[in-house]
Symmetry: C2
Subunit: 361 residues, 2 copies
């Protein structure tokens, strides 16, 4: 007799993504930022290590971080909830709003974690199939959104890299639930938002999530946060561990948030490299989706994507091969392709050289 | 209309414990270790900050840490699951084993978080009332344990500081569920365990949880772990975020685990101070429960405990005033008293001087 919850029993075991711990890789598979975090972050971390306070619990209210984030997003600190990565914030959201048997929705193809979170909660998860140009399919929206307690929308989206308009986002708020606007890649857009939608008339039905893993170059510290109306934050607070953020990540995130210039400079470099990569891939014969993120989604007509992935990996270049079943407008109902993170110019040159060589064989 | 889950709506908002961020306090309220973490930990942290790898995701498999912990507990690495503090491990356990409406059990008075975790999960939580001498009440055990999916037992216990025998623990395994043995304070016992109970015939029904917040002097980094049979760990893995532990806490915990001598030396100092504090409190007229932890539970017959707490706080000395309703053998059904963390000898001298002064007034 299994003692696990049936919902857990049914789930497949987790297979972690490729995170090689050795060096020598050109790592373009998990959308990390190739540039280092702000020197102010490293300084804050060293100071915290030497503070003589690591034996004490961290500030459970995360006052310094909330103040810093509130200033950037022009809200009060009680609009901010920090988490152990934005993945934890998404877990907290599920546990705050979705009971077993209730339903969640996410655009598809998109971030598959939303479905895993629903599975753990023993809730339903509906894939709202996107159009071939990655726009929302409003002809199916009514049925899909009607019963949703949570709608997860990553904006910009992964793997496609596109960004939906504000009016599209507002229209996707479910009639009896909340909309989670996952802005993990928000800073890479040409005109990044700063919580504007929360100040719209229906803004109290939106929770924005943000991460330090991408634009702030801090995937290693696991830190993200939610921005929402204070009563929403107060409810989420009940579903979280009191000390979910440690003293070091709090110090790093606070310093990173206070150095917007550093982040913006790295983002500008990534946007420039992104444009160059898109152009080069197009010249090589790839179909490239215009990207508002730090990665590019591309397909290649003449060769299986899995083979391209393998050929790159054998040269110690990691990109992400992705496969989405159940896409009725794709050949055999399966959409696949490559998602390539934007590295440094040198890394992207290495990738392009390898691709040219592979494609000429 | 509230959009929160009813279980969340019903819960009281979280009131964090007192964690003053200013200095000058004698802080004896949350069982932190007064001694610094191992120099090897600080070295590992500085090296990780300077590694040039903070922009990358941490190792989702936590291989180095699991190897280090496995050696100390004489198991294979697949018996180990790391978490963002042992509180997160307890959350993972609830989500792995307990469906809404099912029941959990914990001895009472004990760690109130077990009840909060059941509340979030919309599960039941039964208080298994302890005897006045803090022993298990076997006359009520049958009914209480019969339907439990999880039984949480902190051993040693808080606030009492006592430790139950191995045979008591094995007897408390529920017939259709798992026993969680929360060894947050395990290293402070006179004869600490190293996972022995897992190697007993019924050991596959036990999960041991451990933390770095107490004996390893690392409350600031939020790190804990579970030890259990590999199939149990595999199930728990499905309910956790992939990257629940960050690169810095992984490095710190690995270094701390590999420096057992440092931890043992601090624990020895704390045991010695504990004996002295127990004796001094007894001389002052307190009733002191013999402690196997880094704190002491005491009551005072002649003065309200709340007044003693306030008088100490006004002198910038923080202890924990605790009040447990529903204890039928206590006056008016309410047990209250003071839980005092073992600080340095200087801090404990400061406390005793203040108490002598307060009690003479």
């Amino acid at each position: 007799m299994s003692l696990f919850r049936p919902a857990i029993e049914r789930m497949a075991g987790y297979t972690p993504g490729e995170q090689p711990q050795d060096s020598g890789w050109i790592k373009l598979n998990t959308n990390e930022n190739p540039y280092p975090p702000s020197p102010a972050v490293l300084k804050a971390l060293h100071a915290t290590v030497d503070s003589g306070r690591l034996h004490l619990y961290p500030d459970p209210l995360a006052k310094a971080f909330r103040q810093a984030a509130a200033e950037v997003f022009q809200v009060d600190p009680d609009w901010i909830l920090p988490g152990n990565g934005s993945d934890e914030v998404l877990t907290i959201l599920t546990r705050t709003f979705v009971d077993p048997g209730q339903s969640t929705v996410y655009p598809y193809p998109s971030y598959i974690l939303y479905e895993t979170l629903a599975d753990i909660q023993d809730a339903g998860s509906t894939r709202w199939l996107l159009n071939p140009d990655w726009s929302f399919n409003w002809s199916t929206a009514g049925n899909v959104l009607e019963s949703a307690k949570l709608v997860f929308i990553p904006n910009p989206n992964s793997p496609s890299g596109n960004r939906w308009s504000d009016s599209d986002i507002l229209r996707a708020i479910p009639p009896s639930g909340m909309l989670v606007l996952d802005e993990a890649y928000g800073d890479f857009a040409d005109s990044p938002h700063r919580g504007e939608l929360l100040r719209q008339p229906r803004g109290e039905r939106i929770v924005i999530t943000r991460t330090f893993s991408k634009s702030y170059s801090l995937a290693g510290i696991r830190f993200g946060f939610a921005i929402a109306h204070p009563d929403v934050i107060a409810g989420m607070q009940k579903a979280k561990d009191s000390y979910n953020c440690d003293a070091l990540s709090l110090a790093a995130a606070t310093a990173a948030m206070r150095d917007q210039n550093w982040m913006q400079a790295n983002v500008a470099k990534i946007r420039a490299t992104r444009a160059r990569l898109a152009e080069s891939l197009t010249q090589l014969g790839f179909a490239v989706t215009p990207s508002q993120t730090n990665f590019i989604w591309c397909t290649y007509p003449g060769r299986p994507h899995r083979d391209l992935y393998d050929a790159l990996k054998s040269r110690k270049i990691l990109v992400r091969y992705m496969k989405f079943p159940g896409v009725d407008w794709a050949p055999d109902g399966i959409l696949d392709g490559l998602r390539i993170s934007i590295g440094t110019d040198d890394e992207i040159n290495g990738l392009l050289t390898a691709l040219r060589h592979i494609l000429s064989q």
